[in-house]
């Protein structure tokens, strides 16, 4: 089920480190990548080389079913797992946060003339040795077609953010394309580099309905794997594309196996029926045991989401900062992390992932202190009434908490919270809903009291959180962003405006550091821990590299091989 576990977003949006300085001159908020520290798992691998030609197969299990294969239409993370294999981007972002050219010959910068100094003119040089899976050569026309398709009013494009600014697309040569932007928009670099997969003109220009055609269920791309077959509800088979323009692929086949039940999924990984447990990975309660399995590697990696309790700041008691602080103090965070999540995640105080350059180290640290929480509430005038529930001025300290029903760990967290908070005279009630309901109007229009959710706050990987915390971004008040907390702060607005205008990394770091302190002290959110995923890989399968800058860690199956 689609869930806001945080592995969403436009993926990490990154600017190649060498180009960072120039890039900031574009004028909008730009970002460096989130970098993953060299993981221990990389060292444990025996040195070996990929085979000369594709050998063997990989069975990747997913707990959701990929169903959307047109990469420009609305899809969820699990669909991206397929897009990464079948299609290519102009450039992508590696785990270290660098832009790496793919269909483009180089990443455009002001230095290499790919971008004008005002950021309005883009000139992209393309590779000329790339072929579609059907043998047709890939050209600049395909790029033009893809960008125009996104803006086609008949086409159900996923998102036109950034793309709608693109004008006057000119195909200069088969391997070069230029366009003009209506306004400077530096995140576009990342939008192109994360999910704007290029689709074939020669096939799609002939279809009568751009939203439903044979292509939608037998896509043709330039990626390392070509479409094999799909057995709906069961699996998808992809075959190696031997004419692939990049490194790999080193396996003959990839099978994405849909196993809707995480327990069954783990059982099959344990018995060796699947080689890799993809999206949603291994349930925390199985990780301990999984690590003892012979011939299996378990990799726990961070995601860029932050698990937190989202208060609706316009809802009665939550408007009082003292209440939020008391509630925060009364949470036994360590018990949640250690018992319910088996010690896997790291606690956090910020909305910024700890791997990001903009992460603020010096935030006040949470301490579990119910006595202090009680004192705080007493001092703020919240008096215990009937049944031990506090109230102040006729407002009772009681509220509901919601999350996606069926998420066991979150439902358990809720029950711990009930007990923790009852101790300080706050009454919480559970009101969970299926994903299709909770993330609709209930969340978007701030109809909740409080919600447990994991969110990737970054705009790409940029810490510009105007859409999340800006006072003009409240959907319930007609705003266009995602400020469903209804957080309003003049100081935050000032910092956000200032940060978006700064070009110096150090200055930006200072500004967003201040902002993180402000959000932490205001307790606009009650942060719990940074998102994580535990994935299993069969020993001998080399090349698995979690990428915090993508939404799915099986982004690079092209580099996987059997030792």
């Amino acid at each position: 089920m689609a869930d806001s576990t945080g592995r969403f977003g436009v993926g990490g949006l990154h600017f190649g480190i060498p180009n960072r300085r120039q890039f900031f001159q574009l004028g909008a908020g730009a970002a460096a990548g989130l970098t993953l520290p060299g993981h221990a798992f990389a060292q444990s691998e025996r040195p070996s080389n990929p085979p000369d030609k594709p050998r063997g197969q990989v069975i990747a299990a997913l707990s959701q079913e990929p169903t959307v294969f047109h990469p420009l239409m609305p899809g969820i993370e699990v669909d991206q797992g397929v897009w990464w294999q079948v299609f290519s981007l102009l450039w992508y972002i590696d785990p270290a946060g660098n832009f790496v050219p793919d269909l483009a010959r180089e990443v455009p910068t002001i230095e290499n003339g790919g971008l004008s100094a005002d950021g309005l003119t883009w000139k992209i040089k393309l590779r000329s040795d790339v072929k579609w899976h059907d043998g047709t050569p890939f050209t600049a026309d395909d790029v033009k077609f893809s960008l125009e398709l996104i803006n086609d009013s008949n086409f159900r494009a996923r998102s036109r953010v950034g793309h709608s600014l693109v004008k006057d697309i000119k195909v200069v040569a088969a391997d070069e394309i230029h366009w003009r932007m209506e306004a400077p928009y530096s995140p576009y670099m990342s939008i192109l580099g994360s999910l704007t997969f290029i689709v074939p003109k020669h096939i799609l220009e002939k279809v009568s309905d751009p939203n439903a055609s044979p292509f939608h269920n037998a896509p043709v791309g330039t990626g390392p794997f070509r479409w094999g077959e799909r057995v709906p509800g069961d699996h998808i088979l992809l075959n190696a594309h031997t004419g692939y323009h990049g490194k790999g692929p080193y396996v003959e086949r990839v099978v994405f196996k849909y196993i809707p039940d995480l327990t069954v999924l783990y059982t099959q990984f344990r018995t060796g029926q699947v080689d890799y447990t993809g999206l949603q990975g291994i349930l925390p309660n199985f990780v301990q045991e999984a690590k003892t399995l012979k011939g299996r590697k378990i990799v726990v990696s961070s995601t860029s989401s932050v698990e937190h309790i989202a208060p609706n700041l316009e809802f009665g008691p939550f408007a009082d900062r003292a209440v939020r602080e008391a509630l925060y103090l009364a949470i036994n965070k360590q018990a949640i992390i250690d018992a319910l999540y088996y010690g896997l995640p790291t606690q956090t105080e910020s909305f910024v992932p700890q791997q990001a350059w903009s992460f603020q180290q010096e935030l006040s640290q949470h301490k579990y202190d119910p006595a202090k929480a009680n004192a705080l509430l007493d001092a703020a005038g919240w008096v215990r009434g009937a049944g031990g529930v506090r109230e102040k001025g006729g407002v009772k300290l009681e509220f509901t908490n919601s999350t996606t029903s069926g998420n066991a760990a979150r439902e358990q967290t809720q029950q711990l919270l009930i007990q923790d908070w009852r101790a300080i005279g706050a009454a919480m009630r559970v009101n969970n809903m299926p994903a299709a309901v909770i993330w609709g109007d209930f969340w978007q229009q701030s109809k909740f009291n409080s919600v447990i959710v994991g969110v990737n706050f970054m705009l790409g990987s940029d810490p510009d959180v105007t859409p999340r915390f800006g006072s003009g971004a409240i959907p319930a008040k007609g705003g266009r962003g995602y400020n469903t907390y209804q957080y309003q702060s003049a100081e935050a607005d000032r910092l956000l405006a200032q940060g978006a205008k700064q070009f110096d990394l150090a200055q930006r770091k200072a500004t967003y550091g201040e902002l993180q302190k402000l959000i932490r002290n205001d307790l606009a959110i009650l942060p719990l821990f940074q998102g994580f995923i535990a994935e299993g890989v069969k020993e001998g399968l080399q090349g698995f590299r979690p990428n915090i800058n993508t939404s799915i860690n099986c982004w690079n199956i092209r580099e996987w091989y059997w030792a």
Partner: protein, 316 residues
Amino acid sequence: MARYVVNRLAQAIMLLVIVSAIGFAILHLAPGGPLSQFAASAQMTQEDLDRVTRQLGLDRPLPIQYLDWFGRMLKGDWGRSYRDGEAVLSVISSHLGATLELMATATIIAVLLGCWIGILGALRRYSLFDTLATVGAMIALSIPTFWFGLVTIYVFSVKLGWLPAGNRETVGDGSLLDLLHHLIAPAMVLALVETAMWGRFMRSSMLEVINQDYIRTARAKGMPEWRILTVHALRNALLPMITVAGLQFPTLLGGALVAETVFTWPGMGRLFLDSIGYRDYPVVMGILMFSATMVLIGSLLADILYAVVDPRIRVG
């Protein structure tokens, strides 16, 4: 007879119209929508969501949407899945095979085993076998199917390691043996309730028959017992079973949904659950209409067949 059939058909079609209206209303009035899953992410802004809602025609008044859907359905166009863009009928048919495989296997087991138990129970009434069978059938009817499935997984997959914990086949294998291996547990679980049903029906049907005058007459005439059984009793006792087969269909389909969920079986039940979860309206409507049609055809056929084989039934 022809008039009867035409009459029943007309009624069935009217029922389908009511079913479609009820189903459509329930689905579309439910909170949430097909785009909520995207709203959870920052991939699509509110503006994008509003645009796609418009493009899907989901912003129109409900009655208009219903009439539009209904009109298309009459022309054989059941719409396309919001998830993979495939035509609804092809989505259903691609999941149907797995479900039919499960249902057919379970039914065969249930009919054979159930009839055997029922007949034997009726012939040796109040014997230990009959008592055990009666109590056993009642317990079988009372066990939650999914729980029985979980226990089966625990015993045969987790503890003994004899059977796979789910799925229809091992990826890349798919041989007959492999398919059968995967089929055993879910078919067994689904067959449990069915067997109990068939056993109970068969027993009472058989009891009714062997107490009829013509059986007593035959017996009085000194006809050998096995001949009485096969020629008279069994034939007449099996007649009402035709109705059972028709009326059992909804239960069977419901049971299949549960068994598919427990054993991650890639069939219609799974599809239905997923489609409800994603609010894939066209597919959910398609499955509701499809199953309602099957249910109606089942009961219609049962009635007609029964009328044909049993001349005592007056049709009109």
